[in-house]
Symmetry: C2
Subunit: 345 residues, 2 copies
DNA sequence: AATAGGGACTTTACCGGTTCAGTAACGGAT
DNA sequence: ATCCGTTACTGAACCGGTAAAGTCCCTATT
């Protein structure tokens, strides 16, 4: 049994079959004017019969445009799997890409330098028409790199981190302030925060906002610890916070994602502490996970799918020549569930 | 301030700069013989100075090969985000693609029909050199489609589902048997299973294996329920199973993924049942999540990252003309943790 | 001395589309 | 009857590479 050598059908075959020139087929398939209805139909009919689809490589070569956008993510694989955030984000991005029959080129990288090299190669090699940049850090090398290349990008991150690049961002500072305010309103005076990777820009923003918010409320015993976003570190951080003697022990903890909050919840129960009786927990980036625990987790909730879609739409804007801009998306909203309550006396 | 129009540098510029012909540059960059060391160096030097990277569209057009593989995933976005499985799988795939400077074209689709159309277009349009197919169901339309197109694919699924396609699969039946055997050995006689989407092939395989295993052990009261893999349905299923009166209530539950097991755990505690005292829980597709709960979840553990890598390697085999084959990967192994124990009395 | 062989390149013909200058045909205005 | 302006389409150049055939020169063989 031999594999049939798949006689690839090209635009020429379609043209021949429809009795027109290649040019006409091209016009028809790009919905450009200059063809009669009848001819157009004949062409589509011929293409259908032959099962022809334009060769994108050829198209992008001659028209020098590609329908692909790039996304490189830089987190250890094991952590990535757990972050519901990314998959949901990606699916939001896809939802708008699909509408415009555009594809997503995804790559996991080990560090920012590798990503810079990758974006560079993608753009130089005309593999993408633009890229989405995530996980900004202070003085991120991708900012000058994208500027230098003239690569159309949208930077997912606060404008203070993304230089002249078009950015789409959530107002983390306000959200942190709201979270702290909520816990303080419940009566908590000893509030701690288990933050994400210190190198990440949005982590520093939240850290600063947390300091500011607690100071403003006159809360003295506010502690923060940095982690790598993993459940394990979340657990470790929680254990260390909760093992302080009662007067120093926080009565409320805010987490930077929901995995760590879940881990924190189990640490509390392992230590014989009642949630929310002895300690209140507040998660971030509300995913379904927060509703699966017992008690359910209160969270700063956030439409990640819609966020991804916004980012993709903005990227199309940039690609079509829109000038740089800064696009805030709705601030995460506090969603109280079962893990937060007033502290016991 | 005008954006510099990015004068794209082509192979011709590099050739000119190195004082050779385009052909020579092509030879150098494809590591083909026929050039002296000196010339080769001059060419690379020139390319480096100009910051040139070959245009992949042009390359794939003339050499009729592309360094891209396709992957379409068909699950609702919200569920996807939660399944640690996919991100980990993807990262495994990426790890071997990257070595061969190959990229992954990812797309989320709504149903199998849409995927068939997509794979068809990808292949016809020469956008991919091969594809990875996941989530097989009985009489999957992708099997005849891939055969008809001559599209090189590797099917992630049991050979009984994937027809003549090259398959990579885990032996779910054996794993289920082992899981049931373990619980039975602990003394459980009333074992239930919270399965995944009934339409999926591996779900039916597990369902059949569960029936078979419980029958073989003479266990009468074995119940199974189908879900959509979501935590919510996992919780609902657990609630329904555990609300039976004690003699009928299962003393052990096996889940088809770990999200549902986490959900089940919280349902048990919400119902005032002790895990593992009153009921033992066993998760599947062991992710970090299983170590974050309290008690920690026993699970059928499985190297998903390595699985993805194997799949990618196999795909390269298929692309380079290796005949169809069936490649089993290691069976998930039972990893006992805190959620399983002998039943009380 | 003539010839063969091979290394190091160059030349040239594509790959499969898009684009744009050109052309033929037709209806209407002058 | 002529000229103009559209509309509908064709033909050829071009995009940036690859691949196969061709050229040239140098050394080894007969």
């Amino acid at each position: 049994m031999t594999t049939s050598p798949t006689p690839r059908v090209t635009i020429k075959d379609v043209a021949a079959r429809a009795g027109v020139s290649k040019g006409a087929v091209s016009l028809a398939f790009n919905h450009k004017p200059g063809l009669s209805e009848a001819t157009r139909d004949r062409i589509f009919e011929a293409a259908r019969e032959l099962g022809w689809a334009p060769n994108l490589a050829a198209r992008s070569l001659s028209s020098s445009r590609v329908d692909v956008v790039g996304l490189a993510i830089c987190r250890p694989a094991q952590l990535l799997g757990l972050e519901p955030f990314y998959m949901e984000f990606v699916s939001g991005v896809e939802s708008v890409l699909t509408e415009r029959s555009c594809s997503l080129l995804l790559r996991l990288v080990r560090n920012v330098e590798e990503e810079v090299g990758l974006q560079d190669a993608w753009w130089r090699g005309k593999q993408v028409s633009g890229s989405i940049l995530v996980d900004f850090r202070a003085d991120d090398p991708r900012v000058p790199a994208a500027e230098r290349l003239g690569l159309p990008v949208v930077a997912v991150g606060h404008p203070s981190l993304t230089g002249s690049l078009t950015s789409v961002w959530t107002d983390d500072a306000t959200a942190v302030t709201e979270a702290v305010g909520y816990l303080a309103a419940l009566g908590h005076r000893r509030i701690a925060r288990v933050g994400g990777a210190a190198a990440l820009g949005h982590t520093s923003i939240r850290t600063a906002a947390f300091d500011e918010a607690t100071r403003a409320l006159g809360i003295a015993g506010a502690r923060q610890v940095a982690t790598d976003f993993s459940g394990e570190e979340g657990a470790r951080a929680t254990r260390s916070l909760l093992s302080a003697a009662p007067p120093d022990r926080p009565t409320a903890i805010v987490y930077d994602n929901d995995i760590m909050a879940v881990a924190g919840l189990s640490v509390a129960s392992e230590m014989g502490l009642n949630v929310p009786g002895d300690v209140s927990l507040l998660a971030w980036d509300d995913s379904q996970l927060c509703r699966l625990t017992h008690p359910t987790l209160s969270a700063m909730s956030h439409d990640v799918h819609g966020f991804g879609a916004d980012v993709a739409r903005t990227l199309f804007g940039v690609i079509t020549g829109e000038g740089p801009g800064s696009h805030p998306v709705p601030t995460p909203v506090l969603t109280p569930r079962g893990s937060t309550a007033p502290p016991k006396v």
